[in-house]
């Protein structure tokens, strides 16, 4: 029900009730007034006729009274008239058949002069009986009047009664009632019309508010309404305008969002909770409707027909509540499928209830192609490095062997200078061999993981056994914390420990190196750390620290700059990271993380 109807519904009942009450009470007042006026006029007329009559009421006789009564009733238009004595017995009545009856005892209403009147019956045929007292007539001479003291009131001789028909008064009353009702109806109609106009005036701002709200609902943020008054409605309008401006400044419009969504390069699909597509953006429409068939209404499983495909990512979403970069194959039409990454989440309403699914589907066909090319290139490069380093080993061994032979055979002949030169050659060959070996190791790092449960504590034991000579030569002390068992390739974990511990032992200020290997649970996996008390590393050099052949030290320290590059390569295979914290003179700590759900990157 609209406000105006409610207003009228609220207004009309009291109006009708008040109208009925006014009509009723006015009618009663008019009726009483008319009756009283008629009674008073009749009583006055009767008194006047009594005053001019010469009848002797002290000894009334019917035949004497009848002419008077007929004159009285005829003159006053009474239905009947009668005279009753003080005993209440009717002495004479215009209807002679009622002589001897009794005066009707009525609890009437008083009139001036001791008269009274009462109603007999109801409606248009009602009668009003007016009773006029008849008192003795005292005639005094002027002399008597001059001498007369306050005496007793004149004695009552009887009662003169008049039966007055009320038809004329009734007609008059009805006429007044009709006019009264017409006036009331007019006044109330005016009140209703004015109320209607007032309601329209009052509701105009409300209507404007409703229209503006509708505009906002349609995305026209910033819609305002005129403030035309300083009352509560004006205050409401001002508050609304403020809210609208705030809304306009903080919320992008629906059109704006639509434009963004429609211009996304990725496909955006909105489905219901069952996976039936309800809405798509332009990219999705282009990709999903190659034959012109609308995607809306189709189930996503029809677009991902692979074994457990469409249902698969829906199930994953339902299980985890969110899906990120799930790789799948989209087959919207005939021909080969398109590799895509699907990210999806539920659409929640204000109460947190799920209302649908929004999925962003990214076409990764090009990326896959580049990855495949890169993979091939990496394999070629790895194969080249392997072959090169492997094939370089042999000439180096030959050079080293023959240098050893020459040195042994011609040491005394060549002299001290030649011996020093041979040492240079031998050292260079040795470094070349180390470099080639490291390169060979680097190239052997294979992304094809052989995952197993690796006890990293045991892996560290194995590494320390391998590095036993180096550790002992440096006088290093290696400590460890609680190391976990994790899912990984054992050779990778051992290589990581070996490179990092060896670096910690190698780089020191001449004192006994103190190395600590530790591990702690990190975000989504384990974070290992290898710290030392070495000279530390300037963070400015950190950028090239993990690059291949990225050496920070001179030739005095053995190494080809391949160890940390190898570590970085291994960690990235697992999707983890490697970094360090250090400063000059503060020692260094190298961290690497191994995610729990690792897979080859």
């Amino acid at each position: 029900m609209k406000l105006r109807a409610k207003f009228l519904a609220f207004l009309l009942p009291p109006l009708l009730l008040s109208g009925l009450a006014i009509h009723y009470f006015t009618g009663r007042a008019v009726s009483d007034t008319l009756q009283e006026e008629a009674a008073a006029a009749a009583a006055a007329g009767a008194a006047r006729l009594l005053g001019s009559s010469t009848l002797d009421f002290t000894a009334p006789r019917e035949q004497d009274l009848l002419p008077f009564l007929y004159d009285l009733s005829g003159g006053l238009k009474a239905s009947y008239a009668y005279f009753a004595g003080n005993d209440g017995r009717i002495v004479a009545h215009t209807d002679v058949g009622r002589r001897g009856g009794s005066l009707t005892a009525q609890a009437g209403r008083a009139l001036p002069g001791g008269a009274s009147y009462a109603l007999l019956g109801d409606g248009p045929h009602a009668l009003m009986e007016v009773l006029v007292p008849v008192t003795e007539l005292r005639v005094h001479s002027p002399e008597e009047l001059a001498l007369l003291g306050a005496g007793a009131p004149p004695g009552r001789l009887g009662t003169l009664a008049l039966g007055l028909p009320l038809d004329a008064a009734y007609i008059t009353e009805r006429g007044i009632a009709r006019k009264n009702a017409a006036i009331l109806a007019g006044v109330f109609l005016a009140i209703v019309l004015m109320s209607f106009a007032l309601a329209t005036l009052v509701l105009r701002p409300v209507r404007q508010l409703a229209l503006a709200t509708e505009r906002i609902r349609r995305g026209d943020y910033g819609a305002e309404i005129p403030v035309t008054s300083g009352d509560e409605l004006g205050e409401l309008a001002r508050s609304f305008n403020t809210m609208s401006r705030t809304l306009s400044g903080t919320i992008v419009s629906k059109n704006y969002l639509d434009a963004i969504v429609d211009n996304m390069l990725d496909m955006l699909v909105v489905t219901d909770l069952d996976g039936v597509i309800r809405k798509t953006n332009r990219a999705a429409r282009a990709a999903l409707t190659p034959a012109g068939l609308p995607a809306e209404g189709r189930h996503v499983s029809a677009l991902f027909p692979g074994e457990g495909s469409g249902g698969r990512w829906l199930d994953l979403l339902r299980d985890h509540g969110e899906l990120r970069d799930h790789e799948d194959v989209l087959r919207a039409g005939p021909g080969p499928g398109v590799p895509v990454l699907v990210s999806a989440s539920f659409i929640l309403d204000n109460e947190g209830a799920k209302g649908g699914i929004v999925a962003v589907i990214r076409d990764i066909a090009l990326r896959k192609k580049y990855e495949a090319e890169m993979s091939r290139s990496n394999e070629d490069l790895q194969r080249f490095a392997f072959v090169a380093s492997h094939d370089l080993q042999e000439p180096l061994r030959t050079i080293s062997s023959y240098i050893q032979l020459l040195e042994n055979k011609y040491r005394a002949t060549l002299g001290p200078d030649a011996e020093r030169h041979v040492d240079f050659i031998t050292g260079a060959v040795q470094r070349m061999r180390t470099l080639v070996r490291d390169l060979l190791e680097y190239s052997k790092i294979n992304p094809a993981l052989r995952l197993e449960d690796v006890d990293t504590d045991e892996a560290l034991d194995y590494v320390l056994a391998v590095l036993q000579d180096a550790v002992a030569a440096a006088g290093a002390v290696v400590e460890r914390g609680d190391l976990p068992v994790l899912r990984a390739d054992r050779s990778h974990i051992e290589r990581l420990f070996q490179n990092l511990v060896l670096n910690a032992v190698k780089f020191n200020d001449g004192g006994a190196p103190r190395v600590r290997v530790d591990a702690r649970p990190g975000k989504g996996g384990w974070v290992f750390s290898v710290s030392d008390n070495g000279p530390g590393i300037d963070p400015a050099h950190g950028a090239r620290l993990f690059k291949l052949f990225g050496r920070l030290h001179g030739k005095g320290v053995p190494g080809a700059g391949i160890g940390l590059a190898s570590c970085k390569r291994i960690v990235e295979y697992y999707g983890g990271e490697i970094w360090f914290e250090s400063g000059p003179g503060k020692g260094s700590t190298f961290f690497f993380s191994i995610p729990s759900s690792q897979q080859a990157a």
């Binding site: 035949q63 002419p67 215009t94 002679v96 058949g97």
Partner: protein, 294 residues
């Protein structure tokens, strides 16, 4: 106004006035001296009746107005029509046949040879008229005074018996007897006041009228004129009808026929006061308001 047929008398008045003037001022022709009309008053009802009398007679007669003084009636007068009680009481030449009309309270002296055209309607006609107006009528009270009505009441009772009605005669001496008589009235379905001037005055008519209305008993008045004042109806001969009956009697008397002591007008008129009857709710079979009954 009662629902009676009013006859336009304007033109008749003009013609009759001229005729009467001629009759009163000019000597009557010698052949007309055997008859005369004596009027209690030379105007009003008696005058109009005398005109009707002469029209019915077919010739003018000598008309005497008692209001103008005692007339000197010719000795040769063989018959005279007396209009009103005063005219009836006049001394007429011996041997003259006297026809009396319009004298309801007059009783001819004993041994009189006068014939009275009764002011009462013919009994059977009257009862039939009242019965037709009041089908439930069974007992009819009749107010009367004195001997003249006694014989009529006897005729009325006989006629009533033939119609299955009962007549309740109520003799009265003065109008003041009406209240007691009415209060004593028991079992009557209606009451009828015979034309008796001694019983009619303003108060008695009001008594009869008010009682009728209060007790829903139809009051049948003695004349159409009184019906207008507050009665249900009346059935009475008009002056014209009485005059015509008198003219007929006079003609027969001049022809030597013997006449009865009382004659009735051959026709009477029923006059109904519909307003009164309806206002008082009287049990009458009233004609439609637009129509009259006569």
């Amino acid at each position: 106004m009662p629902e009676s047929t009013t006859k336009s008398r304007v033109s008749r008045h003009a013609a009759a006035a001229a005729l009467l003037a001629a009759l009163l001022c000019a000597p009557a022709p010698a052949g007309a001296q055997d008859a005369a009309a004596v009027l209690a008053k030379g105007s009003g009802l008696y005058f109009e009746a005398s005109l009707a009398f002469q029209r019915a007679l077919g010739r003018p007669v000598q008309v005497y107005d008692l209001a103008a003084g005692a007339p000197s009636l010719p000795r040769s007068l063989k018959a005279a029509a007396a209009f009103g009680s005063k005219a009836a009481a006049l001394k007429y030449p011996a041997g003259a046949k006297l026809i009396i009309l319009l004298a309801p309270g007059y009783t001819p002296p004993a041994g009189s040879r006068a014939t009275v055209v009764s002011a009462f309607p013919e009994p059977a006609q009257a009862l039939a008229a009242y019965k037709s107006l009041q089908p439930g009528l069974a007992r009819l009270a009749v107010f009367y005074r004195g001997a003249p009505a006694t014989a009529y009441l006897a005729e009325l009772a006989r006629a009533a018996a033939r119609l299955g009605l009962e007549i309740i005669p109520v003799p009265l001496d003065t109008p003041e007897n009406f209240p007691d008589a009415l209060r004593a009235l028991a079992g009557a379905d209606a009451y009828w006041l015979l034309p008796e001037p001694a019983l009619i005055n303003k108060t008695s008519l009001k008594v009869l009228s008010e009682f009728s209305c209060a007790h829903k008993l139809p009051f049948y008045a003695p004349s159409a004129g009184l019906t207008e004042l507050g009665a249900a109806a009346s059935f009475a001969p008009g002056a014209d009808e009485a005059a015509a009956a008198a003219a007929d009697a006079l003609t027969r008397a001049l022809a030597g026929e013997a006449l009865p002591a009382t004659l009735y007008a051959p026709r009477s008129a029923l006059t109904v006061n519909g307003d009164f009857s309806r206002r008082c709710g009287l049990p009458l079979k009233l004609p439609a308001p637009a129509g009259g009954a006569r």
